[in-house]
Symmetry: D2
Subunit: 338 residues, 4 copies
Amino acid sequence: MNYLQFDRERPLDLILLGRVAIDFNPLDYFKTLAQSETFKKYVGGSPANIAVGLSRLGKKCGFFARVSDDRFGDYVTEYFDNEGIDTSRIRRCENGEKLGLTFTEILSENESSILMYRNDIADLQLDVQDIDEAYIKQGKALLISGTALAASPSREAALKAVAIAKRTHTPVFFDIDYRPYNWKNSDEIAIYYSMVAAQSDVILGSREEYDLTEALIEPGRTDAQTAVYWQGRGAKIVVIKHGKQGSTAYTCDGNSYSIKPFPVKALKSFGGGDGYASAFLYGLFEGWEMMDCLELGSASASLLVASHGCSADMPSVEKVRAFIAQCKKEYGEMVARS
Amino acid sequence: MNYLQFDRERPLDLILLGRVAIDFNPLDYFKTLAQSETFKKYVGGSPANIAVGLSRLGKKCGFFARVSDDRFGDYVTEYFDNEGIDTSRIRRCENGEKLGLTFTEILSENESSILMYRNDIADLQLDVQDIDEAYIKQGKALLISGTALAASPSREAALKAVAIAKRTHTPVFFDIDYRPYNWKNSDEIAIYYSMVAAQSDVILGSREEYDLTEALIEPGRTDAQTAVYWQGRGAKIVVIKHGKQGSTAYTCDGNSYSIKPFPVKALKSFGGGDGYASAFLYGLFEGWEMMDCLELGSASASLLVASHGCSADMPSVEKVRAFIAQCKKEYGEMVARS
Amino acid sequence: MNYLQFDRERPLDLILLGRVAIDFNPLDYFKTLAQSETFKKYVGGSPANIAVGLSRLGKKCGFFARVSDDRFGDYVTEYFDNEGIDTSRIRRCENGEKLGLTFTEILSENESSILMYRNDIADLQLDVQDIDEAYIKQGKALLISGTALAASPSREAALKAVAIAKRTHTPVFFDIDYRPYNWKNSDEIAIYYSMVAAQSDVILGSREEYDLTEALIEPGRTDAQTAVYWQGRGAKIVVIKHGKQGSTAYTCDGNSYSIKPFPVKALKSFGGGDGYASAFLYGLFEGWEMMDCLELGSASASLLVASHGCSADMPSVEKVRAFIAQCKKEYGEMVARS
Amino acid sequence: MNYLQFDRERPLDLILLGRVAIDFNPLDYFKTLAQSETFKKYVGGSPANIAVGLSRLGKKCGFFARVSDDRFGDYVTEYFDNEGIDTSRIRRCENGEKLGLTFTEILSENESSILMYRNDIADLQLDVQDIDEAYIKQGKALLISGTALAASPSREAALKAVAIAKRTHTPVFFDIDYRPYNWKNSDEIAIYYSMVAAQSDVILGSREEYDLTEALIEPGRTDAQTAVYWQGRGAKIVVIKHGKQGSTAYTCDGNSYSIKPFPVKALKSFGGGDGYASAFLYGLFEGWEMMDCLELGSASASLLVASHGCSADMPSVEKVRAFIAQCKKEYGEMVARS
């Protein structure tokens, strides 16, 4: 069943709105960040990773963003160009704001932490002036990264994009993507997450992220209650993630579909979510069955946590499929489907 | 017909959220502000005026506000206490923010302008921490002044209050109360006005204010289209004002009721809206017919524009009724209703 | 003896740098500010008062200032024009900053307090770009009001003006004029006051103000030590005020001259210092003996505390002289000199 | 001749005030910053490098600084501890300010550029509260890095430290260390540089840096004029650098001493100045002849530009001496002295 109707005439598959940043991952890992001495740089930021992921899967993406007016701004823009992402709506900051940086500490395969540079940050300078209806009408769907809601003026730029998406019948995907930085308090989080969730067709988040979203409405919901509530506000698909326990997609016809992670030797504990999102959304655009969407998402997630980078290691369809085939051969057909 | 159900058990009639300020109106008026030399000070600010108005009409009001931690903060708090308004949720600012000031230029009875002091302003410091469910549950209704949405953290405080009101089945009144100060751009206005309007039971505004509210949804609506749209989102009563041409209340049963101003010799061109709102809402709380609500509102508005002050000249029920009776005697029963 | 040499070719007597503001003094005084209901507006701010005072005494003044871009900015500029003060270097603010306001509480003739509006304030927006050598070279002397040092960018504008004054052999007068507003801590006060004092030819201040100035150099000095120290840095005249006990001018030839207040029925406890400064500096420009300068200053101070306004009540030479003559007739020739 | 008298009783040789930061230098250099993929991290920031340099030469340093309250703050503090630098006056920031980052682009041995992260920066949060007389009295000298003057509150902290140094007879070294970041305009630079230069015993800067310092006093001076002027204000030694043409120390007895760079194969074009300063100041503390101070400084500078890091490659006395000896053997005794 197709839960969403995409306008096939529109040239872009997905327009993403949110941050582009740079990751510095240690090459001498399994040490503290203070001890790690050499770092490899990657384009990062959750929506940037998803855009690269979808592009490598063959989908055409556009991006609303602000980047720094310096060599790092050049770097990420050129990287997007090389990946085939349309950068016509990526603008430079005008007051010296800098691109976000994420320095990763990889203590072990299960323990990672990050040190973020997000003061006076480029991505949150996205402005209502940057958002135009003409561009949104070129996209089959719009993805809002929740981090874009953390502060003005990016917050209002995102809310304007959602308003225009509704007016132009463009499905809205909401990747809650909670990051504690830049938010002032939990009430703000609840207010703005719930505002976008109520206007979204597809919502992706962890249980903790839904709890943040629902804090002013009704705390303590079960997954099923969460799904019913947001479907009552218009959502077609509500995906709720539980880390290593797997995730479930609740569809507006009352069904639910669950997937587990694929077995893999992890190198780091992050990046999986962006692999998941890009591959899952790829399936949606292709009109696949929900279980197939989830399987591709879960396999991509597993590949990502086993890699050193995020954007740089986003796989092709062939690579994910080969990985799934190999896992099934090794562990059985139901390896992730439980 | 009663469009709204109030919980008669709740001790406060209306809890208002918004600004308390000070007006300085010239005593030597019909001059430019530069030429006017002596000024009389009044408690002001649209929601403050409405609170005083409703109190004088016999209703019990509470108020969520931040005021300055100085003698002007003392002044407005004591004034509210004297008027019988509950000031338990009026908190002092902690970082030197000052109470808003409005200096009025009265050039003629038709030409007024204002010079506002609203930099680093006390009222916009209202914070999500200031808003508590226990208090909202004591009010039969909650009134949000649109000016409170102009900037953070007051913006989120107002949105939190609305969220709690919805959760606690407290009717929400939205007085759009547009002031150009403090807003950054028209998209912001459209985003936040529409967000509160979509959750309100009663909306009060001028045609221009509805245009601002609807700018990202569908510009150029007629009054009837506006009423139908917001009633579709849950509003029971949509009041649209057209200045001297009068105003119309559209009710959710598909009816509409119009009123014109009462004839009066104006001294100034402001303050009428707050007299209107307080008397109209008084009628709603009393369960009156819509036309009677509107007539009281229109009569109070006329009394206000003929007075030097705003809060200080809010009339008692007896005074408005006497004025209506006198107008009807002089100009005929249908003086404002035609 | 002439302690200062003025370049008689220069068309302006004094160029002042600092704040122009508006005073609102209650007409129904001897009440708290909350109780006072009617206010009279005056041009105010210490250097503005001194400029008006000097103009009325027949001297030509210029002014470096920023004022608000609104009707209050019009008001003060027009007022200066009418008083004959050159306003060519008074610029409007560009980001909505407002003119400072001072609301006065007059509880009794000895107890006054003020409530100041100085958030996002126009005068502290004076910028290094506003200061030009061509103008400074037109003035026989430059007066820096210490309040201009309280924050950037006005702080650097004042320091630049001093640097140019030194380069162009323009005597610098420093009116310490301490106001607690806008300063962040006492170290900042000590740093910037001492920086300007060390480059000044004439310094005017109260004992408390010199203590603030010397806090990082050597706290606890006597008046004589203070005078010797600043004269060692180049000062020609050091005036130290002790309120009702009178004041003393220490000159660089090792002499000192003291004056007491003239007997007068005070209405308020402020404004005297500005009357003092303008009349004292008038004497300096005229090349008078030090005692005559002080006597005129003290008499003007007494006239001011007996008046309702400050700028509006600055006296002419004739008026001060008549007042001195009358006091001497009534109380004896040495009434203030003893 | 000893131009400076140090109090041998004081336990610390030099107390430095300024920034501690982190450098990320590319391992795959001779590429653009966008193309470089791997980076090595070093403790950086000019005064931090000088402190490490002096420590390795056997001098005991202290440091007034603010660092970030995160793992990078841990990193630099631990690094200082390991180098034997006293970190008792290195405090953590309290509002999320971050340590400065410098990403270096090394295009060739002559072309380097840097991308700095200095928004909301830790080092400029140094506050007057952080500066205490007790500590300054423990240092034989105080070094102010000019970058600390770029913005408040660090600016006032530096000015307070200078005031206390004067009061406690602690010689002041001023390393102008101009960085365009964080300064608002050239007048500010001139005001604050000249303010500290006028109170300094030793000034170190390039010709361009002295031009910035003198812009409001007298532009266009020769080196000799510059030296005479600042010696007239109290400086004992004025060092003026001309890059590859070498540098000259002007002493207050009217002499001057010049040195040239040692021949070396450069890897990068920065870091030399910090090697120079640390070794030159080492010579001063040792009471060496001026030419010997300069020779050690110049040799250390040459070693630094041939190294990948800055702080990490600061040499020991033995290493610099061995390098000098080898150069003299190869190129002749006067290799740098010509």
